[in-house]
Amino acid sequence: MACLSAEKIIALDEGDLNAIEASRSRDHLLLCPACRLKADHYRYLNQALSRPMFSEPPAAMIPNVLQRLYPALPRYTSVIAAIAASLVFLITWIYIYFDFSSSSLIQALRLTADGTSGWLVNTIKAISAVYNAAQAAFKAGNALLNMLLPAPLATAVIAGSLLACFSLLAFLFIGFMRKKVHAEKS
């Protein structure tokens, strides 16, 4: 058999030859020192190539990409959200705590509902039901806390809980908006 070409030696090393050719080539390598040396050289080279040298990227690279892709919400957005949550909380708290069920707004709504039909009546009824439920829950919680804690502390606990709830809702809303913006971007 004639000496093996470099291509054949590489193909043999990489397992690219069919069984018969591979067997013939291996037989030839046993008999031919020149081809064996050539095969050893390629194997040596392949071994060096098969253990590539990776370059270490700078540590700041991924944080930079993430910053570009997921920019932090501007600080004022969070401040505005916090102020809005506090305002909603304050109004709700005053409204529920001082029992404004007979306020002019509620009265007006009820009067409107009496004289109207269709979706507006249902909407007003729904608002009223939610309001009544919230008020009942608040009163029950308040009564329970008043039994367990001195009055000023109970009020503080309720106020704190409501504030926390509204803040949580505000931040969930911000998170949702952020995801929506990124989805639109991508």
């Binding site: 470099a6 291509e7 590489i10 040396l37 050893d40 050289h41 390629y42 040596y44 080279l45 392949n46 060096a48 190539l49 098969s50 253990r51 590539p52 040298m53 990776f54 370059s55 270490e56 990227p57 700078p58 690279m61 991924i62 930079n64 990409v65 993430l66 570009r68 892709l69 997921y70 952020r178 995801k179 990124h182 989805a183 971007k185 991508s186």
Partner: protein, 192 residues
């Protein structure tokens, strides 16, 4: 359809999970950066291109077809990004179409260190040497060696990424090895 690890991360990224995309980037950053830096041979440019690559992957992720391997798709984008950059700055690098380069011309002016006694170098040093030589071979050979050994791709995958026929890929990798072998022999690195 059963999703692999990368594809699960893509799904999560598309749902807006920042941590999933971070995990995906961490998985590929080393391979991608190593490929890019060896292609452009400039660290600052390599960092910029790698960042651009991750940015681009993110922006076109919704176009990814889950029937294909993510890595092949991503490497193709990376390859095109790097080649575009190189073509725009062609004066700084060797020709993409130069087939007729001889090893002597190739290594005549470059800075591969050849001083003293490579014969006695240990295995790790041999590897360092081979990879330094890889950095000096023409781009058309180098890119294939990098795809084959840095990205650990099969000939068929390389062909899909570079849009070259499989035969051409095999042939160029063979020629690249010939160049490397000749250089190693010249420096006495191949005394087995």
């Amino acid at each position: 359809m059963i999703l692999d690890e990368d594809q699960i991360l893509i799904k999560k990224t598309l749902r807006g999970e920042r941590s999933a995309y971070e995990e995906l980037m961490r998985k590929y950053e080393k391979k991608i950066f190593s490929f890019v830096i060896r292609m452009v041979r400039n660290e600052d440019v390599a960092v910029d291109l790698t960042q651009d690559f991750f940015f681009k992957i993110y922006t076109v992720m919704d176009k990814y077809n889950f029937e294909y391997k993510f890595s092949t798709w991503a490497y193709r984008i990376c390859y095109n990004l790097v080649i575009d950059h190189i073509r725009k700055n062609q004066s700084q690098v060797d020709s993409l179409d130069d087939d007729s380069i001889s090893p002597h011309e190739l290594f005549a002016s470059e800075n591969v260190s050849r001083e003293d006694g490579f014969k006695n170098l240990v295995r790790e040093e041999t590897r360092d040497y081979v990879w330094r030589v890889v950095d000096q071979i023409p781009l058309k050979f180098r890119e294939l060696i990098l795809l084959r050994y840095i990205q650990d791709l099969k000939y068929e995958e390389i062909a899909a990424i570079t849009s070259l026929p499989v035969g051409t890929v095999k042939n160029r990798i063979f020629k690249a090895k010939e160049l490397l072998k000749q250089e190693m022999e010249k420096d006495g690195m191949l005394v087995c």
